[in-house]
C-alpha cells in the first residue's frame, strides 16, 4: 500500500526491526572501510584523541592557563575529548545521511532510518576503543598514586549518558539532514556550528569556572546548562574524575527530556522528507 502522504507519526518500528541485519551490516561496513589500506588500521582511532589532548594541553592548559579542577590535565582533556568526539562524529555523519546516500536511496527502498542508526552504532565501536584509552590512562594514574581516581557511584550512569549522547546526536543529525536535502546552505554553516558548540560545552575547561560569572545579570552557569550536552559531560566527569560538582538531577532530567523530544521531532520530520527527497536532492 503506497500513498502520497503518510500520517504524521507513522513510524514503522517493526519494519526497522526487520532490517536489523542491514543496520548491523552498515555499521560493520562503516568500521571496516574506514581504515582499509592503511598501515596503522584501527590504531588511528587512538591517534586522534591523543593528538587533540596534546594540543589542548599546550593551548588551553599551557598558554591560556585554564585550570582543570585539580584533575591531571591529560585525564581531564581525554575525558572531554572522548565524549565530545563521539557526539560530533555521530552528528556530522548523520547530518549527511541523504546527500551521501542519494545513490543507494535512489535505487532501492529500505527504512531510511537504518542509515543514521548504523552510523551511531559504528561510532560506538570507535568510542569504545577511545574509552579504553581513557581507562588505561586512568588506571596508570591510579596506580602511580596520584589522587586522580575519584571514582564515585555516579559513574554507573555511564550507559545512560552514552544513550543520551547518541540520542541527541541522532536527533540533531536527522533533523539537519532533512533540512539540507533541499537547501544546501546549511551544510556550509554546519562544521563551523559544531566547533562553536564544542566551546559552548565544558570540554576544554571545567564548568566550575562559570560558577561566579554573570552576563547581563544572568548566571552563566545556568546558561551553560541549557546546552543539553553540558549536563551529560559534567556528570561523566564527576562520576569518573570527581571534578566539579554534580550538576544536579534536575539538569540531567532536562537533558534527557530534551533528547526524547528532539528525537521524536527529528524522526517525524525525517519520515516526511524521506518519502520524496529523491526528487529534490
Amino acid at each position: 500500500m503506497i500513498k502520497p502522504k503518510n500520517r504524521l507519526f507513522e513510524i514503522n518500528i517493526k519494519e526497522l526491526w526487520d532490517y536489523r541485519d542491514l543496520i548491523s551490516l552498515f555499521a560493520k561496513r562503516n568500521i571496516i572501510t574506514q581504515y582499509k589500506q592503511t598501515v596503522l588500521g584501527p590504531l588511528w582511532f587512538l591517534v586522534q584523541p591523543a593528538l587533540s589532548v596534546i594540543m589542548y594541553m599546550v593551548v588551553f592548559g599551557g598558554i591560556a592557563g585554564i585550570p582543570t579542577d585539580g584533575v591531571p590535565r591529560p585525564l581531564f582533556y581525554l575525558a572531554g575529548t572522548c565524549m565530545w568526539q563521539y557526539f560530533s562524529d555521530c552528528l556530522s555523519k548523520t547530518s549527511n545521511t541523504f546527500v551521501d546516500n542519494a545513490g543507494i536511496f535512489g535505487k532501492v527502498y529500505f527504512p531510511r532510518l537504518a542509515m543514521p542508526i548504523a552510523n551511531v552504532l559504528s561510532n560506538l565501536v570507535r568510542f569504545g576503543i577511545q574509552l579504553g584509552l581513557f581507562l588505561v590512562v586512568y588506571a596508570i594514574y591510579a596506580l602511580v598514586g596520584e589522587s586522580a581516581a575519584h571514582f564515585n557511584w555516579y559513574a554507573l550512569l555511564f550507559p545512560v549518558l552514552v544513550l543520551m549522547m547518541a540520542g541527541l546526536a541522532l536527533g540533531f543529525g536527522i533533523l539537519f539532514s532533512s533540512m539540507t536535502t533541499k537547501y544546501r546552505d546549511l551544510q556550509v554553516l554546519f562544521s563551523f556550528g559544531v566547533s562553536l558548540w564544542m566551546y559552548a560545552t565544558p570540554i576544554v575547561y571545567p564548568l566550575s569556572q562559570t560558577k561566579s560569572m554573570y552576563w547581563n545579570g544572568i548566571h552563566v552557569h545556568k546558561l551553560m546548562c541549557l546546552n543539553p550536552v553540558t549536563p551529560i559531560i559534567e556528570t561523566f566527569k564527576y562520576g569518573f574524575l570527581g571534578c566539579g560538582d554534580f550538576v544536579g538531577w534536575r539538569w540531567l532530567i532536562y537533558s534527557f527530556v530534551f533528547m526524547v523530544a528532539l528525537l521524536t521531532f527529528g524522526v517525524v520530520v525525517f519520515n516526511k522528507v524521506q518519502r520524496s527527497f529523491m526528487d529534490t536532492v
Partner: protein, 430 residues
Amino acid sequence: MATAIEFNNISKLYRLGLVSTGTLAHDLKRWWTINVRRKEDPYLKIGETNDRSTKGESDYVWALKDIDFKVEQGDVVGIIGKNGAGKSTLLKLLSKVTAPTTGEIRARGRIGSLLEVGTGFHPEMTGRENIYMNGAILGMTKAEIDRKLDEIVDFSGCERYIDTPVKRYSSGMMVRLGFAVAAHLDPEILVVDEVLAVGDAEFQKKAIGKMQDVSRGEGRTVLFVSHNMGSIKALCNNCILLEKGEMSYIGSTDETIKRYLTRNNIIDTRCIDRKDHIGTGEVIISDIFMTDCDHTPVKEVLSGQSIEIHFRYISKLSKLTNNIVMGIAITDEYGAPITLLHSRHCGVPITLESGSGEFVWTIEHLPLNEGQYHFLYSIADGGGQGDYFDYLDNAYTLQVVKGDFFKSGEIPPKHFGPFLIANTLQVNKK
C-alpha cells in the same frame, strides 16, 4: 487469480529547472496556499504532459499521469515506451524509492526491486562481504543469505574472486555478482529495470532464464522494463505502453509492441524540403517512408521483420528516358559502409517520363542487428554521362530494434557486428 499489483490513479509531478534561490519563495507560496488558505495545491493544476522536445509553459511536468492498471499474480508484464515516457518513474514508485503525488498503489507481498545491479557495493569490501551487504539492502536477512550463499556464488561464476575486494573485479563480474544476489531474493513481486542490457550474451541468457523460472515455475509476478523487444517478447505475456507519462495501451505483448513501433509514423523532415539535394533535379525524391508488409507506416523495425521502403518521386523529364538507375548505400551510425542496394543488381530497368510515382524497395527478413542505419540514395541516367538527377546524403535513418530474427528469442549482442545471417545447425555424431 488474485491481483498482485494495483495502480489507482497514480500521478507524479516533477519540477523542472534548477532548485535554487527561488525555491524557498516558491515553497512558501505552495505551503501557504495548501495549509493556511486550505486550497488545492496551485501547482497541481498547471502541470503539463511530459513532452521533452517542446518548450513548455510551466515549470512542472507530469512524469506520470492517471496511471490505472492491475496486474494478476504470476503475470510477467513488460513496460515499454520511449526514453522519458515514465517507465523508470513507475518502477521507482512501486519500489517505494519516491512517493506518488496522487493516487495509491496496492501491492500484495514482498517487492524486490532491481533498478540497478549491485546497489550498495563498496569497492573496498570483498565479494562475499558485498553479497551480504547487497542482499540486506534488497531486504534479505542474514540467515537467508547464509542459506543461499553457495547458490549465489555459483550463479555469479565468480568463485575464484569471492574473497577479493570488488574494486579488482571487471565491470562484468560486478554485474554478475549483483544480479546473482538479486536473482536469489525470492520476492513475490520482482521489479526489473533494464539491468539485462549489461553483461555478455551467456550471462544475459542465464539472467532471462532465471527470470522465466521465477515467473513460470514459482508463480511470482514480474514487472520488467526494457528497450530490447527480443527479451520483452521472450519473457512477458502482457505489456503496458507508456507515452509521455500516460498509459496509451495495455494488452498482449505482440499487440503492444506493434503499437509501440507504429506509433510514431510521422516522418520528421520531408525529403522535398531538404536543401542539400545534389543533381539536376529532373527526377527528385519527394518523400521517403517505411511500411511493414501490411502497408502500415512504421518508424522502427525489428530485426527479421519484412519491410518496404517507399521513395516517392517527381519527374520533370521532357522525354521518355530508359536506363535510369537508382542506388541506395546503407551505412551504420558511424558512417561505415554496410551494403548497397542497386536497381541494376536486382535486374530492374527503370524507365521514366514526366510525372510522379514511387519506388518501393522490399527487404524481406531484415538481416540487420539493432541500431541506426543511414541511407544515401542516387538516381542517375545509367546510359549516359553527366550529373545525377538526384543525390541525397543521409536521406533516411532506419531504426532497427532487437527482434526475434532466429525465432529463438535471442540474437547476438550488437558488438559482434550489424549482420544477422539465417543459418541451420546440424550435429553429426560418428
